[in-house]
């Protein structure tokens, strides 16, 4: 049985409210809040970046796993805000964890689904008996163009999963649906991403999420009742709720993982953060449907079944505990923290 042996998360403590951003642009906060379903988002500290967030999340995962760091045989970090364009985040994590020198490694990019892609690679390496444990990380400090709609949701956070045998949650199956769909992109050396507006909906997010979910269920013989929880990529609260309805899944099943309302879209960590929030309370034998989405475009779907090993696993502090641990800042400080104004 191969799956998630341990998980760790990190959410920077600063938040900015939708009201504060709307105040700057003279927009109606209430209609934005009800339109996106997002109330506030996380903002990294000035001395935090994707690497520091990845390290903090990984250190928690490693501590909870109670394994020797040197047993990790692969590290893959997925992000769209790696600190270097060339020089991997993964080796910084490797050094900070004390993994040694014997590990497979690379950084990944596939918009918001690079973290789940890392999961798939680690899963395959464990299955092929190339490694004992693999560390898959999704982390981001997303940058948004000022006054763009995405400014209300682009946030920061990281999730680290240790993949191996004897898991607390088995990865029963995984399926990906991929196509060349330019819904959201950033050209090299451009500071902010661009996107296709409403094009990011049906032809992008929904097509891939629904196709991946259905593809997984058809190929491996699942039906909706097999799942106790579902978590989709959450760029806002509306899309995952709508995806659930389109699939016929009871929206109650996605509530536990719907963290976007309070921390925004953590991009490569987005669906994984929801997964972690679910694992925080899930019981043995419960099954989770995880479907990520990365622009450009693709979705990775997983069927994850919790095992009884989760009962001896340390799950505190939980994701929702961390969401509550917060400090609000204003727009000026937000710009300083996001490096958008410098001395």
């Amino acid at each position: 049985m191969i799956g998630i042996v341990s998980y760790g998360t990190y959410i920077p403590k600063y938040r900015i409210k939708v009201e504060e951003i709307a105040r700057i642009w003279g927009e109606n906060a209430e209609s934005i809040k009800s339109g996106l379903g997002v109330f506030e988002k996380s903002v990294p500290d000035i001395d935090e970046d994707t690497a520091t967030i990845a390290v903090e999340a990984s250190r928690e995962a490693l501590e909870r796993a109670k394994i020797n760091a040197k047993e990790i045989g692969a590290i893959f970090v997925g992000s769209e805000s790696h600190p270097y364009a060339v020089k991997p985040t993964a080796t910084i994590v490797g050094e900070a964890l004390g993994v040694g020198n014997e590990y497979f490694s690379a950084d990944l990019e596939f918009a918001c689904k690079a973290g789940t892609a890392a999961m798939q690679i680690c899963y395959a390496m464990v299955k092929a008996e190339m490694i004992k444990y693999g560390l898959a990380i999704g982390a981001d400090t997303a940058q948004a163009r000022p006054s763009d709609a995405l400014e209300y949701s682009a946030s920061a956070g990281g999730v680290a999963l240790i993949i191996g045998r004897d898991p607390i949650a088995e990865i029963e199956a995984t399926y990906s649906f991929t196509s060349d769909t330019p819904d959201f992109w950033r050209r090299d050396l451009q500071k902010y991403p661009s996107h296709g507006g409403r094009f990011t909906g049906l032809p992008a997010y929904f097509r891939h999420v629904i196709s991946a979910a259905r593809g997984l269920m058809e190929k491996y013989g699942y039906n909706l009742n097999d799942f106790d929880f579902a978590v989709f990529h959450q760029p806002n609260a509306k899309f995952p709720i709508r995806a659930a309805r389109m699939l016929g899944i009871d929206t109650k099943k996605i509530e536990q993982g719907l963290v976007v309302r309070y921390i925004g879209n953590t991009y490569s960590a987005s669906s994984l953060m929801g997964l972690a929030a679910i694992l925080d309370i899930a019981k043995p034998e419960q099954r989770i449907l995880l479907v990520s989405f990365g622009s450009g475009a693709g979705s990775d779907a997983f069927s994850i079944r919790v095992t009884d090993k989760i009962e001896n696993f340390e799950r505190n502090p939980s994701v929702w505990d961390k969401i509550k641990h917060r400090e609000y800042i204003d727009y000026g400080l937000y710009l300083k923290h996001r490096d958008m104004i410098v001395r």
Binding site: D45, I46, D47, D49, K87, G98
Partner: protein, 125 residues
């Protein structure tokens, strides 16, 4: 500065200090030679706990950080060894004696085109 920073990455990313088997003292930053025992000493590398308390602190207003004023603290780790580090905390909340633990943060960079310096800072427990 690249090789010089790289040489000590292991000791900055994690609090890896030195322990002398002869006199039982801990040292951070690490040392090749025990200053107490010199040739009689037997130094080995040892990871430190990362938890401790604040002995003294200052809020630096004119300094190296591009960000806000930052806090420098003299911290005594539970092993008894002391080090100087940055404290990530609101200045009003710092107190001599408060308990702190280590975190992984960015210290700076060698210019916009240079390498990024990561290391260990502390936060209140």
């Amino acid at each position: 500065m690249v090789p010089r920073f790289w040489r000590k990455i292991k000791y900055r990313y994690n609090l890896i200090g030195s322990y002398c088997e002869n006199c039982g003292n801990y040292f951070y930053p690490p040392r090749n030679l025990c200053p107490v025992c010199r040739r009689k000493g037997k130094i080995k590398e040892v990871p430190l706990s990362g938890t401790g308390r604040v002995l003294s602190y200052t809020v630096v207003h004119q300094g190296e950080n591009e960000g806000k004023p930052y806090i420098i603290a003299l911290i005594e780790l539970d092993e008894g060894v002391r080090l100087i580090s940055q404290l990530v905390c609101n200045p009003e909340d710092v107190e001599i004696g408060m308990r702190v633990k280590s975190v992984f943060r960015k210290y700076g960079e060698d210019g916009k085109e240079g390498i990024i310096y990561y290391g260990t800072k502390f936060v209140p427990i």
